[in-house]
Amino acid sequence: MSIGVIICRCNGVIDLDFDKLRDEISDNDVKVFVRNAICIDKEPWSELKKNNISKLVIAACSPQFHERTFRNMLKNVTLSVPFSIVNLKEHVAFVHRDKKLSYEKSKAMIKATIEKMKNIKEETIVEEIKPNKNVLIIGAGVSGLKVAECLERLGFEPIIIEKNERIGGIIERLPKIYPYNVSGKEFLNNIIKNLRKTKIITNAEVSSVLGKFGNYSVTVIRRENNTIEIMNFRVPCIIIATGIEEWKPFDITYLKYGRVPNVITQLELSEKLMRNEDIKANRIFMQLCVGSRDEKFYNYCSKMCCIYTLENAIELRKRGKEVFIGYMDIRTIWKAEELFNEARKLGIKFIRGKVANVTEKNGVLKLSVENTLENVVEDIEVDLLVLSSALKAPDTNKDLSQILDVELDEHNFFKKLYYKLREIETRKRGIYVIGSSTGPKSIEDCIIEAKATAKKIATEVFLPRLRPRAPSVIDEKLCIGCQICYKVCPHRAIEMIITGDGEKARVLVENCKSCGACVANCPTGAAQLEGYTTEQMLQYIETLIKEAKMDKKIATFVCYECGYAALDMIGIKRLKYSESYLIIPVPCLARVGMLDIFKALSSGADGVLLIGCLENGCHYLKGNEYATYLVGICKDILDAIGVEKERIDIIKVTNADYYKLYEKLVEFHKKIISLPKLEVGK
């Protein structure tokens, strides 16, 4: 059993006293190889293979660039060993001037990594689940139906649960949908006619969901004619497609909705048009943004109302009615602009303003509205006032979010895993959210999301290995059932089970993303994450700090996502900062515990800096939030024991903001220098 250390010279960029280094770190178990350009040169790797090593430390450039390159290299020489990478290029060679201190830093980092690797265990294989071909879809609106259609084509057998008696959602009520130029019903029928294997259950609601990705067990209650039917399903994935509904603007009392019969909402008008009802009114005023873009009700824009309002207005105008539209901004994005143009050409009157008063007399409504472009308050008499009311999340979302254990955002829509790139996923693996369940969406968007979700499910479920990476493990003997890990887990990958020995936590392996939040917060050390177990971390920190022979040392916990990338970027830009920063990479700042911080200080570090992702930008959802709390608590503790609390700090950055991080590094170092030497044990 020996550990190989391969150090890359990178064409002379990494320039250390390699002989001395070899002497210092070699021993019986550790073999050191110094080579050049190991990312392109295959020769050093076959040499490793010959030397029969069982574990490997690669001291080269950023693993962010080349982790997969090295994996491929190892694969090419059929060497299957666990390995870890130390970054001597972006984190040392590019950023430091002093040769001696650079050497110390490099040595300490390599030595600490060797120590860590010594304790690494081979991974344990867990049994695999064979997922079945069902997928549960909640909501039978356009998104739900479309995703069922797509999944069917891929060989799935979807089950759709609809809480209402009728299927179709909001679109069913629209006489004409943009840009398809057909009625909502027709559009839906085109999808429904393709459904063969899909089971649609109406009047039904989900009552409980247990389990994990690949194997969720769902209970559905169906109520009809006073009978209750309970059904159970086992599904690998669940899709939330609960959609959106129109707000009834009773609360805006001055608009008199609900009190005067000829004040209706836009979708009520759509329904009338859909039923081909005769609209008796001759003068019609449509008010946009009723309740939406309003801080008091719904402060977002409902996106779709401009478009269906214009469709309705055009239809009515074509029937010879006089139509007014009151608006703040007309939001006909992309080619819907043609609707706006058409409406203008047809002579629909646009008034930039909001109806402020409504008085009714003998069926005639007198509206007063400021025409903001003319600076006059106009009194307009109409027969019908149509309110394009806000689109809002259904109230049932709250219950559903609790049953499914996924979060809602501030508007009661379902929260996406990540707002930019992972919009159709939720924090729980295997639970997808599509269509207007995450906010108002156009029909085109719903269709696209449905397709994308089908693709994602196919890839996840078809292919073997539902497990992502090494998950954390909870030792049942040590677990005291305190539920802390259960509560901090950002991906809800821990369940509490009742055993003969009381309540215990257990990892839902398939859902775990290996962030380490449970490890950092477990009071008994029951939760462990291979590579970052309590013991491995402490040993790493101790070796790192003790081996670095320098005046001031700063233990720098860097999250492996944006934090590490920003630090790399400083290297790439060759900005110079102090050698005192000794790097401790962690998967996410969630892994950093109080123990780790105080271990660093007691081992001789003068300061501790945590570098993580931007606010709202943590790749594991909650890590930087937890770390912020932790830093606050540690500061208080330091304060209480009479140590300067400025020694601990946290910064949240992205790659694009590397300069901010650079300034922070310079500033923090200055602060640490100004403080007296921290006496260990004090």
Binding site: T253, Y254, K296, T359
Partner: protein, 285 residues
């Protein structure tokens, strides 16, 4: 629970009848009020126009005095005063920075306010805290009239301090119902009467008063009740001028809701200072 009273300048002055009838009718209901000692003017809309910061302090002083004397609730009959007191109270309770700023000033005069006082309008107090049913039980002489309740602006707006819906309030109508009257529904319940500009722009204000009176009259009201001395003085005192200016028959008696309440509770007109109303002569009960 100690109930305080903040009368305000108007109730000390021209509109003393409100104070008299309030105290009397509350007594009849078994509610005793303790006046805040050495209270000062709330600043109304005038002082905020001169200096916003100073206007907060005027209010804060009153609240601090109330807190000092252990009052839990301060009944503020004047809507203008209610608006100022309740708003500043709301800000102090919800904005820590604001609270500190105010207390820094108050320190200079040896006071401090921690936000333990609740400011309530009597209408709100009767309906929500005291209870409509309790009033019903005490009614001796039901008022069998069509009554238009005029709420005015300042105790339904702004939103932070609003007692109920600013567009269609019901509380005063509930009281009217409880004492046997028939509430009249009309469109100008919370439209402004122009009290704050009656002096500086009386021409405009008179127009507003006229609209309110006309709407009440058109909807068949026999009486108007108000809950604010400024609204009252506008609708009552200025009524004759309005009638003359617009040359319309929109005469209608205007009472304080406390006066009407007192009458139903069996108090006599003199006790309720009913005769001080300028429209007293029109009142036929």
């Amino acid at each position: 629970m100690k109930l305080g009273l903040y009368p305000g300048c108007s109730l000390e002055g021209l509109e003393n009848s409100y104070l008299v009838s309030l105290v009397k009718s509350f007594e009849a209901l078994g509610i005793n009020l303790e006046e805040i000692k050495d209270w000062n003017c709330c600043g109304a809309t005038a002082i905020p126009s001169i200096n916003v910061e100073f206007s907060y302090l005027l209010v804060a002083r009153n609240l601090a005095l109330a807190e000092n004397s252990g009052l839990n609730i301060v009944i503020t009959p004047c809507s203008e005063c209610y608006n100022r007191l309740a708003y500043v109270n709301y800000k102090i309770k919800n904005d820590e920075a604001f609270k500190n700023r105010i207390n820094n000033y108050l320190k200079e005069i040896g006071l401090r306010y921690d936000g333990n006082v609740e400011v309530k309008h009597p209408v709100d107090f009767l309906v929500k805290s005291f209870g409509i049913d309790k009033i019903k039980q005490k009614v001796k002489k039901p008022i069998n009239k069509r009554v238009a309740s005029y709420y005015g602006c300042l105790f339904v707006r702004p939103r932070e301090i609003s007692i109920e819906s600013a567009e269609n309030p019901r509380t005063m109508d509930q009281i009217v119902e409880a004492i046997g009257g028939k509430p009249v529904n009309y469109g100008f319940k919370t439209k402004c009467c122009g009290a704050s500009i009656i002096i500086t722009r009386s021409d405009a204000a008179l127009k507003l008063i006229r609209n309110i009176l006309k709407s009440c009259k058109d909807n068949g009201a026999e009486l108007i009740v108000t809950s604010c001395p400024l609204c009252h003085s506008n609708l009552d005192m200025q009524q004759e001028i309005v009638v003359k200016t617009f040359n319309e028959d929109i005469k209608i008696p205007v009472l304080y809701f406390t006066q009407l309440l007192g009458l139903s509770l069996g108090l006599n007109e003199k006790d309720l200072a009913l005769d001080k109303n300028l429209t007293y002569e029109m009142i036929k009960l």
